[in-house]
């Protein structure tokens, strides 16, 4: 057996460029490794195809010098395999063939080889080819690195823009379905059916009078934190947060066949999540607070509205207005559901403490609306 069969010839100082020499002839492998090491490259040796594939999988080199005729998988087999796998397709492969063996060169080209080296090996030829491929490989690596960095940056920007509006899960889904986020927004400056939910804090006026100014913002933040969590749990989209009220949309920007159920679940979760906070506020500040909620469905216009320097992703239309008015009309911890949303509600009302149909006169509406009122024990 040869001493070089599975050895390693390394150039200690600048072992940056790594070459794997695959040759069953130890003298040939040792010769190639020596010449590469003299050029400051790091050369590993694999004595057969199986070992070579294992070594490449464990630590991919920057270049493979591959003998064609070997026991086990041939150089062609290995080359084909490397070129067919994503992780190794860009790894440059130089096939070593006999000078006069044109058939092998054709087969090598078909197997995807990047270059050829003639046997017997002329050192000048070997070094010239390796140098060229090394340059090419380094350029390729750099370009790929830059492309990846740009892609990651773009994705991150889109994710950030989305996460201002969408629940993290929904943002992930939107990005999966439309990697640049474009398609989702392009389709949005049009009419679409949504379920709108408005929620606000009851007792806020009292709160702002009874509590030191410095406490108001942290308390509002506590309130919105609970409400936003309820929204995200049900994959709703927050469209606006103003004063003490919150506008949430469902079935937008992605379709949700159970949008009404999601809206009602969100409303109940808002009241239930806020209840312990309200109890604490009552104990600490003697305040009576609760949440009023209005829900209505129907067609709205969805889009980015505003000036180029300040855009707001928003929904505009009658269901939004009705939901807002219902919210104002609702008692503390009451959910008022508009007539169109109520149509799709039959199956999902169980569990609320009281269900009642009621005619409600709303500002801006000539006729009273027949609504469903849900009271949630808070």
């Amino acid at each position: 057996m040869s001493e070089l069969a599975s050895g390693r010839v390394a150039h200690a100082a600048q072992a940056a460029f790594r070459v794997l020499v695959v040759d069953d002839d130890p003298d040939m492998a040792g010769f190639l490794a020596l010449l590469l090491a003299q050029q400051g490259m790091h050369a590993d040796i694999a004595a057969d195809g199986h070992v070579a594939l294992e070594m490449i999988a464990a630590a991919p080199p920057d270049l493979v010098l591959l003998d064609v005729q070997m026991p086990g998988p041939s150089g062609f087999d290995i080359c084909r395999r490397l070129k067919s796998e994503d992780s190794t397709a860009l790894l440059p492969v130089v096939l070593i063939t006999a000078l006069e063996d044109h058939e092998s060169r054709v087969r090598g080209i078909e197997a995807g080889a990047d270059d050829f080296l003639s046997k017997p090996v002329q050192r000048e030829e070997l070094l010239a080819r390796v140098k060229t491929l090394r340059r090419l490989h380094e350029t390729r690596k750099e370009l790929e690195g830059r492309r990846l960095a740009a892609e990651v940056q773009a994705k991150e920007a889109i994710r950030k823009a989305f996460s201002r509006y969408l629940s993290p899960r929904l943002a992930e889904r939107v990005l999966r379905e439309s990697p640049d986020g474009e398609a989702v927004f392009r389709n949005l400056s049009e009419r679409t059916a949504v379920v709108a939910l408005f929620a606000d804090l009851r007792g806020f006026t009292h709160l702002s009078e009874a509590v030191p100014v410095s406490n108001i913002v942290p308390m509002l933040n506590e309130f919105f934190t609970e409400l936003t969590a309820a929204v995200h749990d049900n994959e709703g989209t927050v469209f606006s947060m103003a004063g003490d009220s919150l506008l949430v949309g469902f079935n937008v920007p992605v379709q949700q066949p159970d949008a009404t159920a999601r809206a009602v679940r969100t409303a109940r979760a808002m009241i239930e999540r806020f209840a312990p906070v309200a109890a604490r506020w009552r104990a600490e500040h003697g305040l009576a607070t609760g949440i009023g909620i209005g829900i209505e469905s129907g067609e709205v216009v969805v889009g980015n509205v505003g000036a180029p320097s300040f855009m707001s992703y928003t929904i505009i239309g009658d269901p939004v207005n009705v939901a807002a008015r219902l919210m104002q009309t609702a008692a503390a911890n009451e959910i008022l559901i508009g007539p169109r949303a109520a149509l799709s509600l039959h199956a999902m009302l169980g569990g609320a403490t009281a269900v009642e149909r009621r005619a409600v006169a709303l500002k801006g509406k000539a006729e009273p609306l027949e609504v469903v009122a849900l009271r949630v024990a808070a």
Binding site: P26, D27, I96
Partner: protein, 101 residues
């Protein structure tokens, strides 16, 4: 046969590899003889092919030349020719003298 030395010039930087290289060539002669005795032409072809590739790479022109002849002889099934080439190879290895430059 006269035992006149045959001088071969080898690059100085290959010096460390040469003892192993020469050991492997002697083993190769034994392998060639065994393959011929067994009538294993495929083995002879492979051994010849390897000699052809490695010989000249190190600077041993005759190893490559004999390798090509052995490869061709094995393909043709020319036993007498193969026997003569293998004898020539053994003789060459016995006489070769390496000069490093």
């Amino acid at each position: 046969m006269t035992a006149q030395p045959i001088a071969v010039t080898v690059a100085k930087d290959l010096e460390d590899l040469i003892p192993t290289f020469m050991k492997n060539r002697s083993k190769e002669v034994e392998a060639l003889r065994a393959a011929l005795a067994a009538g294993n032409m495929e083995q002879l072809r492979q051994l010849g092919h390897r000699m052809k590739g490695v010989g000249n790479s190190y600077g041993f022109e005759l190893v490559s030349t004999l390798g090509k002849q052995i490869e061709d002889g094995a393909k043709a099934g020319d036993r007498a020719g193969l026997e003569a080439r293998i004898a020539e190879y053994a003789d060459y290895l016995a006489r070769v003298q390496i000069v490093y430059e």
